[in-house]
C-alpha cells in the first residue's frame, strides 16, 4: 500500500468523521464503536516498518471501520476498478414465511444462469456452502451496514447474490454450492447446484455516479450502494420484466404507461373483493427534478380509481429528499409539517453554515460554545410553503406499503406519512431501513470546505467518501425522535408469503385492499360554471369552507350532491380553496385557479 495515499485517506476520514459526521454521538452510544481510534490504529499499522499492510488489508480495514457504524449513508468508496464493478450470482433470493417459519425462495433467475434440474423460480434454498441458509444470511448481515435487525436482515439477504465492489470487497469464494428443494417436487431429496460468482464491469468514467440529482446535490438522501445494485440488477435481469400486480388476480386493468418507467414501474387499478383501488409503485426517488416527478405522479393518480390507493415503496432506496417530502401534500387535505434536519455542532459545520444556503443553521451552531448542545437547531430543508404549494390531489384513503430496504428519502417519506396521519402503513418487515439523514458526497464537501490541500477533490483511483451530515428528527406525536437506526414501524405487519414471492405480491395486495375497504371515502371537486360561479360536487361531506388564497370566503353546510358557489371577481386571488369537513374532521381539499 502506497503510504502517502493511505495516510491521506486516513487523515480525511478522521477529520470528517470527527467534525462533520452527524451520527457519530449516536453510533458511539448505540453500537459502542470508536471509528476514530480504529483509524488511528490503522495509521500506526500502515506506517509500521516491519510487516507493512498490503493494499487488500488496508482497504479491508477501511471498509470494516465504516461498515461498523451501521450507516449506509456513510461510506468509504473504493477506487477503480472496484467502484465500477459489481459481483453477482445469476439468481435472486427472497424471504417468505410458511407455517410460521422463515424460508428462502429463488424469486428470479437470469436467462444466462446455468441450468440445474429442479432449480427454478420457487426453489427453496436450504443451505449455502453447507451452512444453513438462515445462519448464512445472518452471518452476511453482520458484515453489512444495516442498522436495526430488520434492516440488517434485508441487507444481508440482498448481498447474498449481488455486491457492489465499490463498498464491499470481492467475495472470498469463487463459487457457491446451493442445497435446495426443487420447486416442483418439494418433498423430494435435497439437491446441490454450483454457481460461479461473476463480475459485471460498468464502463468506468470519471463522472461515474448513480444519483440523478447529482453527487453534488446538497439535498440527497439515498443508499448509494443499494441504488447501484438495483440498477445493475435491473440491467442484468432485464429492464422490462413485469413487476406489478398480475391481471389474472386483479383484473385486466393493465398498467398505465408512465413517462418515468424506472420511477413508476407499475401503476394500475386492482379489482379485489374489498373494492377497486389504485396501485402505484414508486421504485425510486432518485430523480433529477422533483417538479417533473410530482407532475407525473399527479397525472398518474388522476387516471386511477379514487376509492383508495395502495402506495408501494418497498425496495425504494431513496434519492432526492424534496421528491419524497413534497409528495406528501398530494395525499392529504391537511398542511404538511415536514421533518427537521440538524447538523452536528463543530468547527467544520460552523464554517460551512456561514454560507448563504445553510445560514439558518448558523446561529445555533455558533451558540453551541455557550450552550454545549451536541446538535444544531432542527430546520426544514425548504421554506415551509414549498411543502404545501400544490395541495391535495388524491382524496381517497391511502395505504403505504414499506419494507426494511426503504431507506433515507423513503424513510423520511414514510415518517412524514405516519406523523402527518395521512393513512395506514403496512410493512412486510417490522421497520423501514432507518436511514435518517441528508448525505453529502465527498466532492461536494470539498467544494464547501475549500481547503484543497487538506481535502483534494481528486483522490487516487477515484476513491471517494460519503457522509451523513444532517440528521432527521420526526414531527407530530413522534416530535424530536431520530429516524436513524429506529426507522418507521408500520401500523400493521404483513407476513410475506410464497404466493407473494411467486405471484407478484398477490397476498400483500389483498391485505392492503382489506385495510382500504372499510376506510371512509369522500370526494370534493369544483369546476367553473360561469364567470363568477363554481359548481361544487360533494360526497360524504357535511360542510365546505371556502377561501380565496388564505382569506375566508364562506362556510356552507351541504347535502350530498352539488352546490353553486359565487365568487365575486373583485375578490379574485390566485386560487379558490375549498375544504370539506365530515363532522369536525377535515377530510378533503381542492384548489381551483381563478385565472
Amino acid at each position: 500500500m502506497a503510504l502517502p495515499v493511505g495516510n491521506k485517506l486516513i487523515d480525511i476520514s478522521i477529520d470528517l468523521i470527527e467534525k462533520l459526521y452527524v451520527h457519530l454521538p449516536l453510533k458511539r452510544s448505540m453500537y459502542a464503536v470508536n471509528p476514530i481510534q480504529r483509524l488511528r490504529l490503522l495509521e500506526r499499522r500502515l506506517n509500521a516498518t516491519l510487516r507493512p499492510l498490503t493494499e487488500r488489508q488496508f482497504y479491508n480495514e477501511m471498509l470494516s471501520i465504516f461498515s461498523q457504524m451501521r450507516d449506509l449513508h456513510t461510506a468509504f468508496v473504493l477506487p477503480e476498478p472496484f467502484r465500477s464493478a459489481t459481483a453477482y450470482l445469476p439468481f435472486r433470493l427472497e424471504a417468505c414465511t410458511e407455517n410460521g417459519r422463515r424460508k428462502y425462495v429463488v424469486s428470479e433467475l437470469m436467462s444466462e444462469a446455468p441450468r440445474h434440474q429442479g432449480f427454478d423460480r420457487g426453489t427453496e434454498v436450504t443451505h449455502w456452502n453447507g451452512v444453513a441458509i438462515a445462519r448464512a444470511v445472518a452471518s452476511n448481515a453482520e458484515r453489512e451496514a444495516g442498522s436495526n435487525a430488520a434492516a440488517r436482515h434485508a441487507q444481508g439477504l440482498a448481498s447474498m447474490t449481488i455486491r457492489w465492489l465499490g463498498q464491499s470487497l470481492p467475495p472470498d469464494e469463487d463459487w457457491i454450492d446451493v442445497s435446495f428443494l426443487p420447486a416442483s417436487r418439494r418433498s423430494s431429496k435435497p439437491r446441490v447446484a454450483r454457481f460461479v460468482w461473476r463480475v459485471f464491469r460498468q464502463q468506468s468514467s470519471a463522472e461515474h455516479e448513480v444519483a440523478r440529482a447529482s453527487g453534488r446535490s446538497v439535498h440527497l438522501g439515498m443508499d448509494t450502494r443499494g441504488e447501484v445494485e438495483r440498477q445493475v440488477r435491473q440491467f442484468l435481469f432485464g429492464r422490462h420484466r413485469r413487476v406489478g400486480p398480475a391481471s389474472r388476480h386483479f383484473g385486466r386493468a393493465g398498467d398505465l404507461l408512465s413517462f418515468m418507467p424506472e420511477v413508476f414501474p407499475s401503476c394500475r387499478d386492482v379489482q379485489t373483493p374489498h373494492g377497486r383501488f389504485a396501485y402505484v409503485r414508486i421504485a425510486t426517488f432518485n430523480v433529477g427534478d422533483d417538479e417533473a416527478f410530482l407532475q407525473e405522479f399527479i397525472r398518474i393518480i388522476g387516471q386511477l380509481s379514487q376509492n383508495g390507493m395502495i402506495l408501494d415503496v418497498r425496495g425504494n432506496l431513496g434519492g432526492l429528499i424534496h421528491a419524497g417530502e413534497r409528495l406528501l401534500q398530494l395525499l392529504t387535505p391537511r398542511p404538511i409539517d415536514p421533518c427537521r434536519f440538524h447538523f452536528v455542532n463543530s468547527t467544520r459545520t460552523e464554517k460551512i453554515t456561514q454560507r448563504r444556503a445553510f445560514r439558518a443553521w448558523h446561529e445555533s451552531i455558533a451558540q453551541a460554545v455557550e450552550t454545549g448542545a451536541e446538535y444544531s437547531q432542527g430546520l426544514t430543508l425548504l421554506p415551509a410553503a414549498r411543502y404545501n404549494d400544490i395541495g391535495q390531489k388524491y382524496q381517497g384513503p391511502v395505504v403505504l406499503v414499506t419494507d426494511a430496504l426503504c431507506y433515507s428519502t423513503t424513510d423520511i417519506f414514510a415518517a412524514g406519512f405516519q406523523d402527518n396521519q395521512i393513512g395506514k402503513v403496512l410493512g412486510v418487515d417490522e421497520s423501514t431501513g432507518a436511514g435518517g439523514a441528508n448525505v453529502w458526497e465527498y466532492p461536494l464537501i470539498c467544494d464547501l470546505l475549500r481547503r484543497p490541500g487538506q481535502f483534494p477533490k481528486d483522490l487516487p483511483g477515484s476513491a471517494s467518501f460519503r457522509f451523513a451530515v444532517r440528521r432527521v428528527t420526526r414531527i407530530g406525536r413522534a416530535s424530536g425522535l431520530p429516524l436513524e437506526d429506529f426507522g418507521v414501524q408500520p401500523d400493521e405487519v404483513h407476513e410475506f408469503t410464497r404466493n407473494d414471492v411467486l405471484k407478484r405480491n398477490v397476498d400483500l395486495i389483498h391485505h392492503a385492499a382489506a385495510l382500504l375497504g372499510p376506510m371512509p371515502k369522500q370526494r370534493l371537486t369544483a369546476t367553473r360554471s360561469g364567470p363568477s360561479t363554481f359548481a361544487v360536487e360533494c360526497t360524504n361531506i357535511d360542510r365546505v369552507d371556502a377561501y380565496i388564497g388564505d382569506r375566508p370566503l364562506t362556510s356552507i353546510n351541504v347535502q350530498p350532491g352539488h352546490i353553486d358557489l359565487r365568487v365575486r371577481s373583485r375578490r379574485a386571488g390566485k386560487a379558490l380553496c375549498l375544504q370539506g369537513f365530515r363532522g369536525e374532521d377535515l377530510v378533503a381539499a381542492t384548489r381551483v385557479p381563478l385565472r
Binding site: 498490503t54 469463487d174 463522472e207 440491467f235 433529477g288
Partner: protein, 40 residues
Amino acid sequence: MQKQAARDPNRGPSSKQIEQSFDKGTTVPLDSFRDIIDWS
C-alpha cells in the same frame, strides 16, 4: 457525458447515460477480476 457534467455540475447522469455505460459493460468470472486487480 463529461462535457455535460462540466456545464451543469448540479445534475447527475441521465438514464440514457447510465444505460450506455451498462450497455458497454463487460462480464467476467470473479477469478479473472482478481487477476485484473492483481491481489494475491
